[in-house]
């Protein structure tokens, strides 16, 4: 099974913006609740394939979509 990573954002607004951008770029991903061990925030994060992490970072950077960090999914 391919390894997965999680992109964390400051706010749900950025997660939804990123979701929209990744859909446009046809990057496989899934919006989900933030696991409590990663953040006590009540918002969303985006689960991606770890192999796509570099591509996702590039897309977020190009679109100026601020994010907190990318972590390996447990």
């Amino acid at each position: 099974m391919a390894k997965e990573s999680i992109v964390l954002f400051h706010s749900h607004n950025y997660a939804i913006w990123a979701d929209s951008a990744l859909k446009k770029e046809s990057v496989d991903h899934k919006m989900m609740l933030i696991p409590r061990q990663l953040s006590s925030d009540c918002g969303y994060c985006i689960r991606i394939k770890s192999d796509d992490a570099e591509l996702v970072e590039k897309i977020l950077h190009v679109k100026n979509i601020e994010y907190d960090r990318i972590e390996a999914a447990l």
Partner: protein
């Protein structure tokens, strides 16, 4: 006993009050509101279930569409408010510093004048009001003459809700940028009606209405921050839950959460997106709507001037850019005319000062005010003809 004319409830309504709020709304706007309430219903950012995510997507979609229309790259710089008035209050009250000198114009709506006067009365700011011409136009040189070393803010409307005239934003915006003066623009009467671009026009903060030229529901509007406007320069006026940084008791610093506490008007924003899509989809988009309103304005003023005795338009037809026509019939109370139009011909218009006493004083119609017709995308030249005949009848009945 006062005698009222029987209300013509069976007569199709002719709605000439689009500057107050546009009506009717496109069917897609109604569907957008109903779809959210019926099928989505979640609270954006507050819960992780799919209906909450979908609600967040509705809000984001509206944010992106407004950003595109304003010419800003970052959709997070769109702050949704209840209306343009709330947005102007956020811009003014959130950005002034004690001792600032602020310049505005004599054509402003009370949504701008009142928060500025409040700060002046409280001795927080000093205020200069640039006098516009009797046609409502502002000479940019007058702004330049009022500049002081402590001038920090210029607040202007893009288009007047009384005269339909448009101010030369770009000249003033460029001038403000050169001097690091915050340029705040009230686009309540122009957003979706006259093309603008915040970057090219040098606008720092743009207040817009969602329920006028964008054909969204009432309760929608907002403030757009220029891409290079640093959010910390603006203080929030309300604080509370944002669905983000929930482990912190301080207000988040990032946009748009810094200014968007409390649950958003998702139903309204769902309709707003549909309204913007409707405007863009018109033949030639905003330009096409502009031409349509220009034609109705020219048609109305040409016939009224030639055919109605004692008709006085406040501004020449060629200067009216937004389909807003204010006028008077000599010797007749504007309120009487407007009530007659409503009761006997089902024509909806507006009398009085239009919440803009300084503007009426500028064009010479204070305190009497004027009758205002404001045209929208659904109005037709046949409706204008009906209004002309109605005004001729009212005129003919006058002693």
């Amino acid at each position: 006993m006062l005698k009222n004319h029987e209300l013509k409830s069976d007569t199709p309504v002719i709605y000439f009050d689009n500057a107050a709020t546009s009506f009717p709304k496109p069917r897609s706007v109604i569907d957008g509101v109903v779809d959210y309430i019926t099928n989505v219903g979640g609270n954006p950012g507050r819960s992780g279930h799919r209906l909450a995510v979908e609600a967040g997507q509705i809000v984001f979609n509206a944010r992106q569409m407004v950003a595109d229309l304003a010419g800003v790259a970052n959709p997070m710089h769109v702050i949704f408010c209840a209306n343009a008035t709330e947005a102007i209050n956020l811009a003014i009250l959130g950005s002034y510093k004690p001792g600032d000198h602020v310049i505005t114009s004599s054509m402003e709506h009370n949504s701008t004048i009142r928060p500025l006067k409040h700060l002046e009365i409280e001795q927080k700011i000093s205020l200069s009001i640039a006098r516009c011409s009797t046609q409502g136009l502002l000479d940019p040189e007058k702004i330049k003459l009022l500049i002081k070393p402590e001038t920090r803010m210029v607040v202007l409307n893009h288009a007047s809700n009384v005269t339909g005239t448009v101010q030369p934003l770009r000249d003033i915006g460029f001038f403000c940028r050169q001097r690091s003066i915050t340029f705040i623009v009230d686009a309540a009467q122009s957003f979706g009606i006259i093309p603008l671009n915040m970057k090219a026009d040098g606008i720092d903060l743009l207040a817009f209405s969602g329920h006028k030229g964008l054909y969204g529901p009432t309760g929608t509007g907002g403030l757009v921050l220029a891409d290079d406007f640093y959010a910390a320069r603006l203080r929030p006026l309300k604080f509370g839950g944002t669905g983000s940084a929930s482990d912190k008791t301080e207000q988040p610093a990032f946009l748009p959460d810094r200014f968007e506490s409390g649950t958003q008007n998702v139903a309204g924003l769902s309709g707003l997106s549909a309204g913007i899509a409707h405007v863009i989809a018109q033949p030639d988009g905003i330009e096409g709507i502009y031409r349509h309103k220009k034609e109705l304005t020219a048609c109305f003023l040409r016939r009224a001037t030639n055919e109605i005795e004692g008709f006085t338009g406040c501004v020449p037809s060629a200067m009216i850019e937004t389909g807003v026509v204010s006028f008077n019939l000599e010797g007749l109370d504007p309120s009487h005319v407007v009530q007659q139009l409503d009761e006997r011909w089902s024509i909806m218009s507006r009398a009085g000062l239009h919440c803009a006493p300084l503007a009426h004083a500028t064009i010479g119609t204070f305190p009497r005010g004027a009758i205002r017709f404001s045209f929208g995308i659904f109005n037709t030249s046949n409706e204008v003809d009906t209004a002309i005949e109605a005004l001729k009848t009212i005129r003919g009945e006058a002693p």
